[in-house]
Symmetry: C2
Subunit: 341 residues, 2 copies
Amino acid sequence: MIFVDACFGKETPYTPVWMMRQAGRYLPEYMEVRKKAGNFLNLCHSPKLASEVTLQPVDIVGVDAAIIFSDILVVPNEMGMELDFVKGEGPVFEKPIREKKDLDKLIGGKEAADKLDYVYETIKLTREKLDKDKALIGFTGAPWTLATYMIEGQGTKTYSVVKKMLYSNPQFLHEVLKKVSEVVKHYLANQIRAGVDVVQIFDSWAAALEKDAYFEFSWRYIKDIVSYIKKEFPNTPIIVFPKGIGAYLDDIDGDFDVFGVDWGTPMELAKEKLGAKYVLQGNMEPCRLYSKVATKEAVEKISSIMQNKRHIFNLGHGILPDVPVENAKYFISLAKEVTKR
Amino acid sequence: MIFVDACFGKETPYTPVWMMRQAGRYLPEYMEVRKKAGNFLNLCHSPKLASEVTLQPVDIVGVDAAIIFSDILVVPNEMGMELDFVKGEGPVFEKPIREKKDLDKLIGGKEAADKLDYVYETIKLTREKLDKDKALIGFTGAPWTLATYMIEGQGTKTYSVVKKMLYSNPQFLHEVLKKVSEVVKHYLANQIRAGVDVVQIFDSWAAALEKDAYFEFSWRYIKDIVSYIKKEFPNTPIIVFPKGIGAYLDDIDGDFDVFGVDWGTPMELAKEKLGAKYVLQGNMEPCRLYSKVATKEAVEKISSIMQNKRHIFNLGHGILPDVPVENAKYFISLAKEVTKR
């Protein structure tokens, strides 16, 4: 499988390519299924429909990997936190974690992970239908990103609730992070057993932490999860994507295989700091997909920096809903063409 | 004046300190004046009230510099763009710039800058009342940040409107940036003539651009403004604050005096890359003000990194509205005490 080979740094006929949020609103076919499902969470809960949208970008835009359609917040949801997607506001937990009793109420470990059966079912259905030479990616949020949602209760600009906890009661924050980490370990293991070929850990809110705090409250948990998964599944590549920590790359280490580079981190810098140790994924600025000229410029530049080695093409963040499908197709085919050996 | 000396890298009895957004909602005295003014924009437009809130943090928390109470968006407002502050949404321009005729309608250069007389009047009133040994800081938004608001029409997460313009019609975006730059030059010059001792250029949305695009669409305009001001007012220190470009510090240059370090950029990194060339300002993580322990830890760490040289203490972003005033006072007095020679 080209994608898995590339994750392990092996030579491939071309640099494989996919897009974060590739199963999403820019595709009319996705919007149709989404409508059928009624709402976003229903879509996550329906293996048949989730599998359908997971496969769409492979057929329509020609990516080399499908990523399971789901949401990182299904994990806290199945730990027992009621989740709503409020229009215009995004995800909301009505009863965020603020004290020990809130945490103690939540289901942990394997028991919580096993409740995510609709995800594993989606994986099975998808792996059956997906071409054998295409990879299926499973994913999770990093404990820090999940815990931040669970503690704040919703999206935030200032992270003031979780930061207050971090500074006033770091032990308790660590308790939350440990509990989430244990669920995530079992969740990823279950996903791999169900059939995913690769897993990605999204740390979307990495940049909410200062450097030292990042390593203490986020990175160590990611590393711990990576070690756990690597030990049990050495043949499954692991991608990490901590968004917005371009200024901290010197201290990045761990047993993962691929480091996802966000678009705010120059690819040259990522290559200099991490390229020898890890395969790099990324990092075209997603708004470039509004313009074919801008797309071509970036594809050629990134290809020239990476020399078509130890690289997986992707955007540096999720694809936006108003991108023309034609431009997404152009990006995918150009990335393959330009990197052909 | 200790503050001005420190900006020029001269030795001072202690490291001077102030806080971004120090004239703000965390102060009950501010809230009272704000109520009197009716709304935020009225407060900016009333020199007597604006001067009153400008002076408050000097008296109440003991900062070494006052920063004129105003908003970066008064500039596009006086260029002719109608501005509303919508509750919960922030600033909104009803008619954003989307094409040439929108730009052509706007007033430019000295004519627009001269319309900001209420700012200059605020400066005069404040300078009269402010202690002679305290500095008065004037400020502006960087052309990129201002233009982004003017083009998007409001706050944005994706910057998709301005990015579409950047990729499809970069020449026109440059026209917008040039027109804004010319107003900003006259605006800063007028502020200095009215009595400010230092000026700061805020590039709050610097991180919305990729590295190369940052230098093309933002930094060159900042440098141009800096050169213009330096030539006419060599004794007025200039502080720049491009937020979130910690991964691009290698290419930073220009005739400014102080580089403002955001809290996401480790101070060690900023010192290594820029400390020899520029005085550094910053960069305590603002949420640390929720906890005295966390404040002390950061003040001591930053002081130890900077060795109390070529440094101005500040937060790495604005102070939050729910910070206890007592903790702000503690930060200010501790920063002075710890850095005392």
